[in-house]
Symmetry: C2
Subunit: 112 residues, 2 copies
């Protein structure tokens, strides 16, 4: 099960890293301790609504947008694993199945 | 400021009421106390990620869908108040401004 606080923490951390900011800087702007922000980002601690709003303000992101990103991550985590889409090097693809005609001329078939 | 826990509680309550279920029934299915669920619905208590997931399961709703609904509510709450859209009884609409021609024939204009 993918937990809300883990996905929320990951989204908050991504926003901070995209801005090349330190935990210390964002924590100071949000008025929370560095340890608290670190625990929230790692999904260890549940952020209270007030402090989550303060962290979003410090990051310059809107809370509802963060929630939509978290929802997307949870949707993806819930979905069944899908086959990869896109280019796959031929060295990684399994050898094609032998065509029927080739099977018919296999040693066993010849022996029959 | 519209708080996450308040909007979240309102969304959870709406889902429960749409299903005509009692607090007692949903709390029992979610394995939480009736008082806890009531406080979460009223936005008094922050739901932990685990218990929020359990409440969503008990309601038969997906957490990411709930989050999107909460995000929508927060977007709306953030937005500036908009003019009403739709039918407005004529008794509620202000009297139309007098057209320019009518202004020209007002008593003041006639006196000029």
């Amino acid at each position: 099960m993918s937990l809300l606080r883990r996905e929320l923490g990951a989204v908050l951390r991504r926003h901070r890293e995209e801005q090349s900011r330190t935990l210390r800087s964002v924590a100071a702007d949000a008025g929370v301790s560095l340890g608290y922000l670190s625990e929230v980002e790692r999904g260890v601690k549940e952020a209270s609504s007030e402090l989550l709003a303060a962290i979003c303000r410090a990051l310059g992101v809107r809370l509802p947008e963060v929630l939509v990103e978290v929802a997307d991550a949870l949707f993806l985590a819930e979905a069944a694993p899908l086959a990869p889409v896109g280019f796959v090097p031929s060295s990684l693809t399994p050898a094609p199945a032998a065509p029927l005609a080739a099977s018919a001329s296999s040693p066993a078939a010849v022996a029959a």
